[in-house]
Symmetry: C2
Subunit: 212 residues, 2 copies
DNA sequence: TAGATTGTTAATCGATTAACAATC
DNA sequence: TAGATTGTTAATCGATTAACAATC
């Protein structure tokens, strides 16, 4: 039995480690390993075993004292916590270089997401196909988002158009937005939005190599 | 005069906010604004003014009490702290969808990075051009990295080849690695590496929309 | 049983928020 | 001067690490 504790008590850092656990458990399972200790999982990920046990314990008791964690069971539990078993429908808006890369990113498929729609504004791009999905005119966004039950909208348009697209996604009723445009988006408090700012990582690297 | 404090005292979270300050200062400057308060900067970014003042104060005294911060001066200071004025040379390894997107990402140019080399393994890709740079055979990586003084290697190859590429980059003498492959990389302690794991953000979004 | 390993509590460490003196 | 705003110290909050009892 799984005891689920109050969401608010769980650290943001913990949630960001769960996908790493999930991925490693899958790799471990492919190697034919049935049981794994927090020690071994930690060794593979460069995370302390205490941290891993604490993270998992915030969601329930998944291990067996003196034994470890059953890989398959833990993998399903972690996947469930992350909501991956909902197999969310995703759509990418803005099929430039980045949007096309996201549309073709196979790791999303392996996490259980379904790519159901692509949108662009450029007549030369509309009608082309990426990863077996046809690019639609962004003017039909609202209608298609509803028809295909899009849960998550991925914004890969230039910064100048991002807010407008976000507004349309909110109106069309998506559950969450994954934003790659480097701007502070205005969305209702109830809308979940995750910003993916690629220049932060590169700037951080610049910072570190500058002062080593 | 700028007082620079010990690096170790500065929080990782602070460093990740600096690129946001830098970008906003540039936007503000484009609007013709000469002076900005922590309050206004915070309003634009959704960050508290106290946080911004604290972040900046860890690197020196850049503001004027009762006045605010001179936009141009602060922008240059923040850029300098991030090391953007070094105009680091970057190379992308793996010109698939993601690698091509990174090679064409204009925000990196605007941060002062220079794209100097692209590498792939596929004969059909070698010789093609992305963003005015020709794709070279990855077997020539070591030589070209030295010739063109590559500072940062961006790994966009499939997970199975990522460690091998990292090893070659380390041997060739890059200063830092920006890794998009979803694996735990083994590099010497002296090597700076930033991992960009796109599935974390999407998984986090899945987590939040699952339990709203 | 003895050894291994979890889950949890307590201690420490780090980051944010609040408050306010300094000063433009 | 009076009002505005920084820079810094103190207080709070949150996350990680350490320690260990429970138990397989």
């Amino acid at each position: 039995m799984t005891t689920t504790k109050r969401t608010s008590l769980i650290s943001k850092a913990t949630i960001d480690r769960l996908p790493l656990y999930f991925r490693t458990l899958r790799l471990v399972q492919d190697e034919g390993i049935d049981v794994i200790s927090s020690d071994e999982l930690g060794r593979r990920l460069g995370i302390t075993p205490e941290q891993i046990r604490k993270d998992l314990a915030s969601f329930g008791q998944f291990g067996k004292k003196g034994v470890g964690y059953y890989v398959n069971e833990l993998k399903h539990n972690v996947g469930g916590i992350l909501g991956l078993d909902n197999h969310w429908n995703i759509a990418v808006i803005g099929i430039g270089h980045l949007g096309a890369a996201l549309a073709n990113y196979q790791n999303f498929v392996s996490l259980g997401f379904n790519l159901v729609a692509l949108f662009d504004q450029d007549p030369k791009v509309i009608g082309t196909v990426q990863n077996h999905v046809k690019v639609e005119d962004v003017r039909e966004l609202a209608q298609i988002v509803r028809e295909r039950h899009v849960d998550i909208g991925i914004i890969a348009v230039p910064a100048a158009f991002a807010q407008e697209v976000a507004d349309q996604l909110v109106t069309a009723g998506v559950k969450g937005i994954w934003n790659f445009a480097p701007i502070k988006m205005q969305v209702p408090d109830s809308m979940h939005i995750v910003n993916e700012d690629l220049s932060i990582g590169l700037s951080r690297l610049s910072y570190y190599i500058t002062r080593r």
